[in-house]
């Protein structure tokens, strides 16, 4: 009886066809999963993909303009500078006032408790390692960094690097009296999308640019 059932099961043409065709959609699904994994771990974190998906400026954001001789009023969340680092593939990174999640999706962000260029203090700028600051980790000492602000150009030189834990905010502390551009991102970048507990910073000293601290 059992043997008969088994024979009829094996002779069922529908089942034969089902098992014959089933591997194709399964392999297709596996391929899609593999493509997603490849995209997330290899393609998306690469700076070349970042260049393709470059954040165009939000047209609703008003860029403040400065009157000659006056330090401009820079509204929170507005773009106030464009950042370029010598030797980086990524060019013209927009720098916004503020560094919340929404801002960091658009470009680099300046911490609200830090200074603007030319104010003779610490300028703290952060951006994502998977996009704008992907090349920060491989930036050598001596590299020139330019900040084209709405009130004039500034040039800095990388003089040091720093690796610090994400719970340690002491490197960000304001320090007036000397102009320092402090650019940081997640470290190390090879971890791709994994949560990173370290941060790496470039410490840059001013080479050129107007000093506004005496005028204010």
């Amino acid at each position: 009886m059992k043997q008969e059932k088994r024979t009829s099961f094996k002779k069922n043409p529908f089942l034969k066809g089902f098992f014959l065709l089933l591997p194709f959609p399964l392999v297709f699904g596996a391929l899609i999963c593999a493509v997603v994994v490849l995209f997330q771990s290899v393609i998306a974190p690469s700076p070349y993909f970042g260049l393709l998906t470059y954040n165009k400026l939000d047209p609703s954001v008003t860029i403040p303009t400065a009157k000659e001789g006056e330090f401009p009023v820079i509204p929170y969340e507005s773009q106030w500078a464009t950042l370029n680092v010598q030797g980086w593939e990524r060019k013209d990174i927009p720098v916004f006032f503020g560094d919340n999640k929404a801002i960091l999706k658009k470009g680099a962000g300046m911490w609200v408790n830090s200074r603007f260029c030319g104010q003779n203090g610490k300028i703290v700028i952060s951006a994502h390692v998977t996009t704008d600051f992907h090349e920060l980790e491989v930036t050598p000492i001596g590299t020139l960094v330019t900040m084209d602000t709405v009130y004039g150009p500034y040039v800095y030189e990388v003089t040091d690097t720093l690796i610090f834990n994400y719970k340690d905010s002491s490197p960000l502390k304001p320090a007036d009296g000397e102009e320092v551009l402090f650019m940081y991102t997640c470290y190390p970048r090879k971890n791709g999308y994994q949560f990173k507990t370290e941060r790496m910073a470039l410490i840059c000293k001013k080479v050129e640019g107007k000093d506004w601290s005496a005028d204010e």
């Binding site: 591997p23 997330q40 929170y76 999640k101 999706k105 994502h128």
Partner: protein, 190 residues
């Protein structure tokens, strides 16, 4: 000569009247900053000076407002005397309440709105995020407990998805192999 001097004096007075409202405002702001410098502990003042100046740079301040803010700072001198650190988490509950009230009062005087929300970061679940809005409802500052930002990816939930897709791909492949074996068995027994 007398006429010339009189005209010159009149011109100077007129220029002064026009220029005064423009130049007085930074003085009011400076007076408030000076009061903070005088009464706040030095470490706290230096820690928050860029934030204070960045907020003040985005608003206009009248003399009356500046005087009220200075009064408010002077009234808080007992709080500043008991300096325990620059973070509110280092203070007792009643001290924290006092500090929040002080910030609220100063914001109210300056026509600002301070909004306190909880951090959406699981690691800082109970920490407070301070957002300051101007009278037009535009955000002019935001301070969250995480000064050091998460700068790995724009979307933080991406990491577990990676492993889900790897496991799913493996299961699908195993299923395909199993289905191919069954199909082969059917073919062999034809």
């Amino acid at each position: 000569m007398k006429k010339f001097v009189a005209v010159l004096a009149l011109c100077l007075i007129m220029v002064g009247m026009v220029a005064m409202p423009v130049s007085a405002e930074p003085m009011h702001k400076e007076a408030m900053i000076e009061a903070a410098r005088e009464h706040m502990p030095d470490a706290m003042f230096k820690e928050y000076l860029p934030l204070i100046e960045n907020v003040l740079s985005q608003i206009s301040v009248e003399k009356e407002q500046a005087d009220q803010v200075i009064d408010c700072i002077e009234e808080s001198r007992d709080f500043f005397k008991e300096y325990k650190g620059n973070s509110l988490s280092e203070y007792e509950h009643h001290e924290r309440e006092f500090a929040v009230e002080m910030v609220d009062r100063i914001c109210e005087i300056l026509g600002l709105n301070a909004v306190y929300t909880h951090s959406d970061d699981p690691e800082h679940h109970n920490d407070v995020v301070l957002e300051i809005y101007n009278d037009a409802g535009q955000k002019i500052a935001e301070m969250d407990p995480d000064a050091v930002k998460k700068t790995n990816v724009p979307e933080t939930a991406a990491a577990p998805v990676n492993y889900t897709y790897v496991v799913l791909a493996a299961v699908l492949l195993l299923g395909a192999v199993a289905a191919a074996l069954v199909s082969k068995k059917f073919a062999a027994e034809r």
